[in-house]
Amino acid sequence: MTTKDIVLDHVSIRFGSYTAVDNAHLTIRGGEFFSFLGPSGCGKTTLLRCVSGFSEPTEGRVLIGGSDMKGVGPNKRPTALIFQNLALFPLMSVADNIAFPLEVRGISKKQRRKRADELLDMIALPGVGDKKVHELSGGQRQRVAIARALAVEPDILLLDEPLSALDLKLRHHMRTELRAIQQRVGLTFIYITHDQGEALTMSDRVAVMNSGVIEQIGDPESIYNRPKTSFVASFVGETNAIEGKVVLQAGEIVTLETPVGHLQGKAAGGRRYKNGDPCYLFIRPEQLEVKSGLEAPNTIAASVVKEEFEGSARILFLKANGIDMRITRVNRGASDALANGQALVCAFDPDHATVLPHGPLAGA
């Protein structure tokens, strides 16, 4: 197995005056499952096309295995791209699709067929080689696209939101499958998605992007538990964002003055704040607990707006002094259902709340 690192060396991509990618600087390690996560239009697909060779960076360099890819066409790079809509050839058989990259390289028909059958075995679809693409289900097509990309043994597989066309259940199944294929073949996967669930479950590391800028790079746990910017905190997973001003910092614990009283949280990355700095306090819905009495500090008085029942969990929508909040509670039976309009108090552990400087929120 080859392990070629991909280095994006201060890469910027501009279209006229519009900056699609702004100074992306990172190293993707060989054999890693690396995801770019961000809302549509954040520049992640542009960056991927730059790695695949369909476009060149305006500034900076792309290095694969130490060599500069400038002027190297998509077909000359050790990468294979899987398109969002898969781009399988509808008029070719499944085997011809998979063997197309081999056909291009002038490999004999017999060997092509043999390799196609091997790959079909690998993706657990033996015997479908003679079928037409439209005879396969969405998930099967997905796997055929992967097999086609793997046919010429690339070092790096680039995947551009390949699961977005599938239905929910299949999408969840394919996450496991993609991860398993990646571990089996040991290749570097670079995965583009706007679905944080996909990014978190499959990846070794995730880069969260917003308007062309990489906001944070890290493993899924640190992205979720220790976001470094307000965008990351609000984009990855559900969260409650409460605006406030710093009134006190004692070590890592910062106290904010907010519309719902004084609240404490941890300063992300050991950051120091001055009194009066505008900040956000982020608390995950699963970190909030419903309490019976007012236990200062770090309690919020609120009233129930509605409750959604999701089976394994109940999501409680609250209003606290005009701020919308939500709490996720594990379902332990019907007895803990709450009536609309009921007043309650919710509490949290300051260690599980994150204080971040004021900045843009996702979807805002």
Binding site: F54, L81, Q84, N85, F89, M92, V104, V152
Partner: protein, 307 residues
């Protein structure tokens, strides 16, 4: 009848009885009066003798294969090489014109569908369509002016010193081929455009990513998608070229007859409508047979052409 009813009833339910009746009547008139009856009467004519008026309907007016026999063996029983030769030459020429049209129109249609955008695409379409406002005869004469002994091309060629004597483009059939090729270019561009437009650009990029050269991208990815469009364009261009009359009349060389001109001569100059009809039927059947054969060879079904 039940098939007709199953077409009529949903239409009446969807668009109202009046509209359904109008469409029914219009289609009936179109099919019966404009297609079936003229063809039947021509077929009927082709099996009759060219008799003087008093004998029509008399004992001499019987069905005969004479007119068809004449095409194959003339009056003397020898093989009618002249007429058969003209038919073969017409078909070969029509095939050439069709091939040239495919070669010209495939790139145009591809560029129109996948490269040209906005103003450029609109200009291209206008550039293709507007010249066809000029009527067919005038266009044919324009080609004559272009290719004549003292025409534009000869003046430029000789003026620039490429050749000394005027080249006889008319006798060499260059003018005829150009005229016919241009006459039906739209009938080739738009079906191919229709077919190629459905192609997903990602497929081209995917093929490029896998290292396919541009010709392989076209051969394996674009061309299979374009095939039904090419087939429907080719059938139209072939049929119309083989049946063209004005362009061969105006642009054809002096010693060079098109089969339609032969039919025309039987009808008008020899006043032998019966034999003319037989020749027209022969042309129609040969063309249909030829097209069907090619569709078989290229594995195109009639349904794909209708798309």
């Amino acid at each position: 009848m039940t098939a007709l009813r199953s077409l009529f009833q949903p239409m009446a339910a969807k668009h109202g009885l009046g509209a359904a009746c109008f469409i029914g009547v219009a289609v009936f008139i179109w099919v019966v009066f404009l297609i079936v009856l003229p063809q039947i009467s021509m077929l009927d004519y082709s099996f009759r003798l060219n008799l003087p008026k008093p004998d029509i309907g008399g004992p001499l007016d019987v069905y005969t294969l004479d007119n068809y026999a004449y095409f194959f063996s003339g009056n003397d029983g020898q093989l009618n090489t002249l007429d058969i030769g003209i038919l073969v030459k017409t078909l070969v020429a029509a095939v050439f014109v069709t091939l040239i049209d495919i070669l010209i129109c495939y790139p145009i249609a591809y560029i129109l569908a996948h490269s040209a955008t906005g103003v450029a695409a609109r200009l291209m379409v206008i550039g293709l369509i507007v010249p066809f406002w000029v009527n067919e005869i005038l266009r044919a004469f324009a080609f004559r002016v272009l290719f004549g002994a003292t025409g534009l091309i000869n003046s430029i060629g000789m003026g620039a010193g490429f050749w000394d004597q005027p080249i006889d483009f008319i006798r060499a059939d260059v003018a005829l081929y150009s005229g016919l090729t241009y006459a039906y270019i739209l009938l080739m561009v738009f079906p191919i455009f229709n077919a190629v437009e459905a192609l997903d650009r990602n497929q081209i990029e995917a093929a490029r990513d896998m290292g396919a050269s541009w010709w392989r991208v076209h051969w394996r990815v674009v061309l299979p998608i374009a095939k039904p469009g090419i087939a429907s364009g080719a059938t139209m261009v072939f049929m119309l070229t083989a049946g063209a009359l004005a362009a061969p009349q105006i642009l054809g060389g002096p010693s060079n007859l098109w089969f339609t001109q032969l039919i025309y001569q039987w009808f008008n100059e020899s006043a032998n409508w019966q034999r003319g009809s037989a020749y027209a039927v022969i042309l129609l059947l040969v063309c249909i047979g030829f097209v069907m054969m090619l569709m078989r060879v290229f594995k195109v079904s009639i349904g794909e052409i209708g798309r």
